[in-house]
């Protein structure tokens, strides 16, 4: 199949404006005749639901949460980028575009990214008008900070809770449309399948998580805003419920899955403390501005420290290895996320890790406390230090923090064209659910930007183009495809309930996470990936023969919910491995050990891999088909990163 | 008129009634206390009787007495109505373990209980003093002459002095002041909060005033009967003293 990205012709800066003019419009009087289903009510979903309802479409919004305000967008701490240039420091739409393309290691589409940078300025206007309480200067104007190594100050923020405030803004806009009757809200409803009628997305099958009832919902178009799949690793900074089921079900119904192996690892997370660990907590990477990363210089010292025979303070200065400062004198502790993460892993692999598990490195603030005082540190990082103390029970003012990398964001996702439409007509994907804007690596403070750009300013235009070409006839669930899809879902649920084995969903999930983290995590190699593929296949067989569930499917059954999600992760995990195996280069979040510079840096292969790998489902237990969308860089020159 | 009824039947509206009437009742307590303190003067009750006569005859005060009564009734009615409504809002199943003492003050959680205790006291109290002086009930008041007035006035002082020689009545009175103290401890500051008068500059002062007010007012109210009970200096005129004592023990309403 030839992938048509539908990128408009013309100069980069004019593409979006031209496209907005060229798309077909739905007559205002006809808009109420169209129904749109939106799955997910995080930033991308809630903003799309509100905006489409405001235009006059009938929206049905679905969330598995008890309220649309709980999506994991809420947990984003740092901020949201926008090319406002309020600070007069040389920012521009083009610079944000350039930084995003370069940060993504040249694996994103120029046109999409440029549009993202363009609408970024509208997002801030929109959110302020909604009453989002962004940080302000004393003069009453908006404050900015620099973020993620950007050379300009373009990040808008609301203390450490930017995601929360932006989501509550979108939630309030959504709530207003619910009150007007333009959005019908389905909470505690999980999408378990997509319904495709004559090749077009026409509805979804959901399970009511309170009653267990399987329901059919029809619409003229379906938007998936269901987030990322970082929980395939079991432990990640994602919320516990985050899952890939909606996207994966759509994939199996014909939507291509793009670049699944592009996952982002965040270097400053609180380390795992035991087998019982259920999730990982991220701390803002701003900590690396003042903290120094180190491990004991020798394996023996590290071992004695782990056993509790010596204390941190017993380790002399010369016995400490400030490995980032040593290896990257120019950037020191501020090297990009992937470099910092890989080096931490390397130290632990060498047996020099700290903490009970040996899977952590120190982030030490002793120097800055000595230099500027604890008060200064508290002013700047107080809430992060408190959070760390609450979780670990240790006082980071007195002893160094322990940190370790964790899975944080997935750049891959459903393949979409310039209109955010997947390969199934009428099915759209927005936010982290799609693959489009971050290439192989996402810049800090760009996830919130993309989710809102898609929902507020892209999908309202592009979905109209599709709907205008669809007859405004009522859609119903009468087509046999609905019954079939419902029967499939029902059979799947029954199958899960009836295995009656011995292992719990979490048990399988942890085993999967272990395989993924070990072989498809921070560093990958062909041999490991092949091994992992076999392991996952074995695990999947075990899952379908040894899963244990109790209760019934006709009631609230959280273990059943979890089992369904793990089943899909077990399939997606294998595709991630296939993708990582196929991509014989290192770029962004994808580091193949075979492809590195003599200094150990990622080595891209632009000649052979400047493409989007879009995988096509080809039947159960069949290898997926690889489709390639070549990426054309007409405006930026591809260069190799260097942080020496 | 529907917006008015709607306003005052809303949860905030009801609380407004509680706050306004409550704070108004606080102002009444101050006046009442100042007059009660006159009893402690060693003048055989002359000052007290003078002010009692003033309160009973001044047209403005008589009008305010009606307002006061209506306010009191509104406070009682709304208080009970809110207690019922709030109980219903809690739902059928109570917590098996609830340590509310770790997140709030006892007085704040028990305003309805404290209010009910005060209501019981008030019934006894009103029958004893107010009904007798206003409506000539239960034998009415003996007449005495006080300085600066050219006509005789009711000898309310003797009724009080006689009552304050009865141990159980003094005990009831004094203990009720503890309930009053706790009720004011929460009620005073709470009234301001309900009226929206919360400001980081002034709220600490309102809290302090409220705590001071509740302790001082209730303590002084309680001290008066105790002093009059233990001191020989405060005696009723013999004739009325017997009447009071009889009425307190024989009136059916008081059993």
């Amino acid at each position: 199949m030839i992938l048509d990205s539908k990128i408009p012709e013309g100069p980069l800066a004019e593409k979006w404006d031209k496209h907005k003019f060229n798309v077909k419009l739905v007559n205002p009087a006809n808009k109420r005749k169209y129904d749109v289903i939106i799955v997910g009510t995080g930033l991308a979903g809630a903003s799309a639901a509100a905006s489409l309802a405001e235009l006059g479409y009938n929206v049905k919004a679905f969330t598995y949460h008890d309220s649309p305000r709980r999506a994991h967008s809420i947990a984003a701490q740092g901020g949201i980028n926008a090319a406002k240039n309020y600070q007069n420091d040389g920012d521009s739409v083009y610079r944000l575009f350039y930084d995003t393309i370069k940060g993504g290691d040249y694996r994103a589409r120029e046109a999409n990214v440029y549009r993202l940078a363009q609408v970024s300025v509208n997002i801030i206007d929109q959110c302020v008008a909604q009453g989002v309480p962004f940080a302000r200067e004393y003069g009453g104007l908006l404050a900015n900070r620099s973020f993620g190594g950007a050379q300009v100050s373009r990040t808008f923020y609301a203390r450490g809770q930017t995601g929360q405030q932006l989501l509550l803004g979108a939630y309030s806009a959504l709530s207003r449309q619910v009150a007007y009757g333009k959005v019908k809200l389905y909470t505690r409803s999980e999408m378990l399948d997509l319904v495709v009628v004559d090749g077009q997305a026409r509805g979804i099958i959901t399970r009511n998580l309170i009653t267990g009832e399987i329901e059919q919902h029809a619409a003229h178009a379906v938007v998936l805003a269901t987030g990322g799949y970082g929980n395939v690793f079991y432990l990640s900074t994602n919320a516990k419920y985050c899952n890939a089921t909606a996207a994966w079900r759509a994939h199996k119904k014909g939507a291509f899955f793009a670049n699944p192996c592009f996952t982002q690892i965040h270097p400053t997370c609180i380390p795992v403390s035991g087998d019982y660990q259920s999730k990982l907590t991220l701390m803002s990477e701003s900590l690396r501005n003042d903290g120094r990363v180190w491990v004991p210089a020798s394996k023996e010292t590290a071992e004695r420290l782990r056993k509790g025979e010596i204390r941190v303070s017993d380790i002399k200065e010369e016995d400490r290895d400030y490995f980032l400062e040593r290896k990257y004198p120019a950037f020191g502790n501020l090297v990009p996320r992937d470099v910092a993460s890989r080096n931490a892993k390397q130290m632990c692999d060498e047996g020099r890790g700290v903490g009970g598990s040996g899977l952590a490195v120190f982030l030490d603030f002793a120097d800055v406390i000595k230099r500027n005082g604890a008060e200064w540190v508290s002013q700047k990082y107080g809430n992060l230090f408190d959070m760390y103390a609450k979780i670990t029970g240790e006082n980071p003012y007195e002893q160094p923090m322990r940190i370790y990398p964790a899975v944080h964001y997935t750049m891959g996702g459903l393949w979409v064209d310039y209109n955010l439409q997947t390969t199934i007509p009428g099915l759209y994907a927005t936010g982290e659910c799609n693959f489009s804007d971050h290439g192989a690596n996402r810049l800090g403070a760009s996830a919130l930007m993309q989710g809102l750009a898609d929902g507020y300013f892209v999908i309202p235009y592009t979905i109209g183009d599709y709907l205008a070409q669809t007859a405004p006839k009522p859609v119903t669930t009468e087509h046999p495809a609905f019954k079939e899809a419902e029967a499939e879902v029902h059979a799947r649920v029954q199958k899960l309930m009836s295995i009656n084995g011995t292992r719990t969903p979490a048990d399988f999930h942890k085993a999967l996470g272990h395989i993924m983290w070990e072989y498809c995590g921070m560093a990958r190699n062909a041999e490991g990936l092949q091994h992992a593929k076999a392991e996952i296949q074995k695990l999947r067989r075990e899952f379908w023969s040894d899963l244990k569930l109790t209760g019934t499917d006709q009631e609230m059954n959280q273990m059943l919910e979890s089992a369904g999600r793990v089943a899909d992760f077990l399939e997606l995990g294998e595709l991630m491995i296939d993708d990582a195996y196929n991509r014989n280069e290192s770029c962004g979040g994808h580091f193949r050990e075979e492809y590195q510079t003599p200094e150990g840096e990622a080595l891209r292969d632009d000649e052979n891999f400047t493409y989007v790998a879009a995988w096509q489902f080809n039947g159960e237990n069949q290898p997926e088909i690889l489709n390639k969308e070549e990426l054309r860089f007409e405006n930026v020159k591809l260069t190799q990163r260097s942080y020496k | 008129m529907s917006w008015i009824t709607k306003t005052f039947s809303s949860s905030i509206g009801r609380k407004l009634i509680m706050a306004v009437t409550g704070l108004f009742l606080c102002s009444f307590l101050v006046v009442h206390l100042l007059i009660n303190l006159q009893m402690l003067r060693h003048d055989g009750g002359a000052s007290f009787n003078f002010w009692a006569e003033f309160m009973g005859t001044n047209p403005v005060i008589r009008f305010m007495e009606i307002v006061l009564m209506l306010g009191l009734l509104a406070h009682i009615y709304q208080g009970l109505a809110l207690a019922v409504k709030n109980k219903k809002a809690r739902g059928g199943q109570a917590y098996v373990v609830n340590h509310s003492e770790q997140n709030s003050q006892w007085a704040s959680r028990n305003m309805a209980l404290l209010g009910t205790l005060l209501l019981i006291f008030l019934i006894v109290h009103l029958m004893n003093f107010w009904i007798r002086s206003r409506f000539d009930a239960m034998g009415g008041l003996a007449e005495v002459r006080v300085p600066n007035l050219d006509h005789p006035v009711g000898d309310l002082y003797s009724v009080a002095a006689a009552s304050f020689k009865i141990p159980w009545y003094v005990a009831l009175y004094a203990l009720s002041q503890i309930a009053l103290g706790y009720h004011l401890w929460h009620g005073f500051r709470s009234g301001f909060q309900t009226l929206g008068l919360n400001h980081r500059k002034y709220t600490p002062a309102i809290y302090l005033t409220g705590y001071g007010f509740s302790v001082i007012v209730s303590a002084l109210f309680a001290v008066i009967p105790l002093v009059m009970f233990f001191s020989e200096a405060y005696q009723p005129r013999p004739a009325t003293g017997n009447t009071v004592e009889q009425s307190l023990t024989t009136e059916p309403a008081l059993r």
């Binding site: 949460h65 709980r70 994991h72 009453g140 908006l142 | 306003t7 709030n86 929206g196």
Partner: protein, 261 residues
């Protein structure tokens, strides 16, 4: 695998957990034993351990609400030993750690109890009443697009900061759960005062407070009697000052709006 403190001793605990099949059936406390609980576990991870054990034994795990497990989504909502979110101040259930408990402790775990929060199952409750209150007016009525430049309206920093503090409410419902009157005033007032403080919210300030209070009453929440347990138990520290602001807004709206209904 040892955690941060290699000397931390695992604990054995007795859990008294509220079990209830669904909202139409009666519930009761059921006792469970959990063993080898690490002090480094979060409270919810301890419940995970219980649930894994129950499932392996063929029993039904305990249903409870949770998601982000980093204290921000507002999903988790357990009444632990007589306190909303347990004994630690300023902490959601998911951020409460087992080091706050001791070996041999008995821990009673109940759902939020309020007529407006019916129990779904076990410890999970239905808080959709909160959503309906926001739907009644917890927004600024502007459509997407056509908004003025974000710097068009300067907002004094202290006003922006106070609005932010009110806006940090996570809608967990601890205020309602711990209030003797089951009042939702802290939750509602946080939104009312956030939008009343900001100039963008001034246009609708009267109708907003009127409608949100009306919906709050309709949902069956009790009236505030300024007890203060809500603010004491609020995991994000929403201040009682917001309730005073809402009272003020309400009085002003009722006295001066053109709304005769």
């Amino acid at each position: 695998m040892a955690g941060s403190n290699p000397n931390a001793k695992p604990m054995n605990l007795t859990l008294k957990v509220w079990r209830q099949r669904n909202r139409n059936t009666a519930g009761s406390i059921v006792d469970y034993q959990v063993k080898d609980i690490s002090p480094d576990m979060s409270f919810l991870e301890m419940l995970d351990v219980l649930n894994e054990d129950l499932l392996r034994q063929g029993e039904e795990p305990v249903a409870f609400d949770h998601d982000c497990r980093e204290g921000i989504c507002g999903s988790c909502n357990l009444f632990i030993n007589g306190r909303a979110h347990g004994p630690e101040a300023g902490t959601t259930t998911c951020q409460l750690h087992m080091r706050k408990f001791s070996d041999g402790d008995t821990i009673t775990i109940e759902p939020w109890r309020s007529a407006a929060f019916p129990v779904n199952k076990d410890l999970s409750v239905d808080r959709s009443a909160f959503d309906r209150i926001i739907q009644a007016g917890g927004y600024i009525s502007i459509n997407t697009g056509g908004t003025p430049d974000a710097n068009e309206i300067p907002i004094p920093k202290d006003i922006a900061d106070r609005a932010f503090e009110a806006a940090t409410c996570i809608a967990c419902g601890a205020c309602v759960a711990s209030c003797k009157n089951s009042s939702a005033m802290l939750f509602v007032s946080a939104k009312v005062s956030q939008l009343a403080l900001l100039p963008q919210g001034h246009v609708e300030r009267k109708t907003r407070v009127e409608n949100m209070v009306a919906q709050m009453d309709k949902e069956g929440f009790g009236a505030c009697s300024n007890i203060g347990s809500c603010a004491a138990e609020c995991p994000v520290g929403i201040s009682l000052e917001n309730i005073a602001i809402m009272n003020r807004e309400y009085i002003n709206a009722k006295a001066t709006s053109n709304n005769l209904a």
